[in-house]
Symmetry: C2
Subunit: 172 residues, 2 copies
DNA sequence: CCGCTACAGTTATACTATATAACTAATTTG
DNA sequence: CAAATTAGTTATATAGTATAACTGTAGCGG
């Protein structure tokens, strides 16, 4: 099964919650709360963890203004130059309609280039620009630092592998 | 550290991707794609897994029109009757401003009740209505079936415990 | 070759979740 | 008591996602 082969519903199922603030100002008193099954609910804990990781990701790339989707697109285009726009979109599970704006953004920053295919003029083949290639190098360095922090939190590469192995079962 | 104690940034860090469709219509041909580091990136795989779990959650509760946030609120109010609105919100990492609409919805369905505190008239204490109590029972049954599916996918309760243990490290 | 169908990309639109600021009313504190 | 704080609310903005409709192009069967 390919990375993009997921089921889909006609809706948005989002969000148990999102991390709250660094204590808006807080009087320091916290109610003791019974979380019941939430404490060990796969979806809830997974969501919390994912938000924490994206939080770190966002801080890592705040200066570049790079969002996870942008990162993924640059990465895939770098490693698969000439893919059709729709192929990249599908690989990442992004609807082609929504993918347009993402590519617009990257093209506007001169990181990615749309090249009309000679053999099929409907197709926009995606390539990194020279600037994009350079950007991708730095991007991967920044990303690796982020990933290293996550792996460290997890307790090392073995723990990371175990986590990946487990979560992959949920998407198969 | 309480469940609600997370860092926060002034932004949204969302989304590597979201599951794409059941093949829009598809010619069956798939480009072979090099995912590079994405295949084992903690954030990416975590996000994919979380979406898959929420997908199942959404299907489970499609009839009830219950979203994850609603579920969590009903659960917390059931197990912590009389908590202040803002305490529930903070526990779930939901901003109090956004929490208003959630409670409005649950109150409108006669599942949750706002009771003005006698000792502090600013406070809305949350309680389940009798209907809400009943609803919570069914809700938990439905939820348990969902959770069981997830645990089965993971390979059993031990795998689930291991997963929870790992992801919790990311939120600590 | 023509017409039908499928496909790639795009535009427009709507909805959900979230973030921020400002406001009201009530309470606490100096 | 006045000033600051708190709880809840309202309004508004933004990001991510979903859906439909449209344009232009390609391919196929008669």
């Amino acid at each position: 099964m390919g990375h993009g082969d997921f089921l889909q519903l006609a809706q948005n199922y989002v969000i148990f919650a999102k991390p709250s603030g660094p204590k808006p100002s807080g009087n320091g008193r916290h109610a003791i709360i019974n979380y019941s099954v939430l404490s060990e609910a796969v979806g809830y804990r997974l969501r919390r963890a994912q938000l924490a990781v994206f939080q770190d990701f966002g801080e890592s790339f705040a200066a570049e203004g790079l969002r996870p989707a942008d990162f993924s697109v640059v990465l895939l285009v770098k490693h698969n130059p000439g893919l059709k726009q729709s192929e990249v979109a599908e690989a990442l599970g992004i609807q082609r309609a929504n993918f347009v704006a993402i590519v617009d953004g990257l093209e506007g920053r001169d990181l990615v280039e749309r090249r009309k295919s000679e053999t099929d003029r409907r197709v926009q083949a995606l390539h990194l620009t020279p600037l994009g290639e350079q950007f991708a190098e730095n991007m991967l360095t920044t990303w690796q630092a982020h990933e290293d922090r996550m792996v460290e939190k997890l307790g090392g590469p073995e723990a990371r592998d175990e986590l990946i192995r487990l979560v992959n079962r949920l998407t198969e």
